[in-house]
């Protein structure tokens, strides 16, 4: 793989790498699963790139492919071999080193309690996507997205409060 379309593809992937990493982190708590699914996402993106017609933004298309992969990924009972990457490709499960990291970890842990579809909706919403874009990616109606978001936001706030209180109690 070394033609000009591959150059464009790699450039666009690198510009939007955070999308794949965030989706992996939201859906998979196990580091091995995350590394495996990240590679699967890259493979699916590469395979599907020929059918990307540019009508939607590259990032919207990338969200769609990555979420499809995450939602239908089947965890393996027995680990299968996969191509080892450079250590820096897997910067996902570092222990919290600051308050900021701890807050981020708490937020990801709270999102992890949501159902698969609600996880997708909230990630897209947090990434500043409009209701129309979320509806297009998920296949839900715009009004359904709105109804669900109200509930998801409420659930997330409650979950975060619970987790913060628990952390404070433990630290006392």
């Amino acid at each position: 793989m070394a033609d000009s379309s591959d150059d464009v593809f790699i450039q666009q992937i690198n510009q939007n790498l955070g999308i794949a990493h965030k989706i992996c982190r939201v859906y998979f708590s196990d580091a091995d699963d995350r590394e495996d699914v990240l590679q699967e996402m890259m493979y699916q993106l590469y395979k599907s790139y020929r059918s990307f017609d540019g009508r939607s933004k590259f990032s919207t298309w990338m969200y769609s492919v990555c979420l499809n992969t995450a939602l239908t990924y089947r965890r393996k009972g027995a680990r299968q071999k996969y191509e080892p990457l450079k250590a820096s490709h897997n910067q996902l499960a570092n222990p919290p080193v600051s308050d900021k990291d701890e807050e981020i970890n708490l937020l990801f842990a709270a999102i992890a309690t949501l159902s698969s579809l609600n996880k997708a909706i909230i990630v897209l919403y947090l990434e500043d996507m409009s209701y129309e874009e979320i509806a297009e990616i998920t296949g839900l109606s715009k009004s359904n997205v709105g109804v669900r978001l109200v509930r998801i936001k409420k659930d997330l706030e409650t979950e975060m409060k619970k987790r913060i209180k628990y952390n404070e109690d433990v630290n006392l």
Partner: protein
């Protein structure tokens, strides 16, 4: 941190740190594509060869029986019946498998909505599983019956006619072992994934 605006702020903070991810180059991406292609092909072919090898074994065994004991009309008839019974299923199995395993990118994971993608995956798996179930329902008892008949005919003096109880017990033991292994395989490879797909699809319908 209690309001959603604060959660959004935390999420946006994470955007800044995401700049540090290792960038992909031709070499890394090439090795991923190569290893994934190999892995996916291996996974598909594992099931294919498992099913195909069983059928090859059946054809080889029945051919051997026909060639060696073809002088006896009953043995010849059952041997040919066994082969004819398997032939259409072998062809159908290959066709269905090809349909399930080879999804062109344009019809695969190419930016479809989540609902459409999950629905398509479920439909493909369901279609193959339905075919496999009807195939097993007919073929497992019939092939077990033919196998038991031929074994008794060739290796037990008097055959099935003079040893009906033994033949029935052998038939039942073989049948139950086959049913148990088929059920185990179906649960792992089809029912569990289908259940997960259905759960996902139900989630889409939940608040319509």
């Amino acid at each position: 941190m209690s309001t959603f605006e604060e959660l959004k702020r935390v999420w946006d903070t994470n955007q800044e740190t995401s700049q540090a991810y290792q960038r992909y180059d031709h070499e890394t991406l090439g090795s991923i594509v190569k290893s994934r292609t190999k892995k996916n092909m291996k996974k598909s072919m594992q099931y294919f060869w498992g099913a195909f090898f069983l059928q090859i074994l059946v054809y080889a065994l029945l051919s051997h029986v026909i060639v060696k004991y073809g002088g006896d009309t009953k043995t010849l008839t059952f041997g040919i019946a066994g082969m004819l019974l398997y032939l259409p299923f072998t062809i159908l199995l290959m066709k269905k498998f090809k349909q399930m395993a080879i999804i062109k990118p344009a019809h695969g994971n190419s930016g479809r909505s989540l609902y459409e993608y999950v629905f398509q995956q479920r439909a493909l798996l369901q279609s193959f599983y339905s075919f496999k179930k009807s195939y097993e329902l007919l073929l497992v008892p019939l092939s077990t019956g033919i196998g038991v008949f031929l074994t008794f005919k060739l290796f037990v003096p008097g055959g099935v006619e003079e040893n009906p109880t033994g033949a029935i017990i052998t038939f039942l033991i073989t049948l139950f072992s086959m049913i148990a292994s088929v059920r185990l395989e179906n649960k792992k490879s089809f029912e569990q994934p289908l259940h997960e797909y259905n759960q996902l699809l139900n989630e889409f319908k939940a608040e319509e």
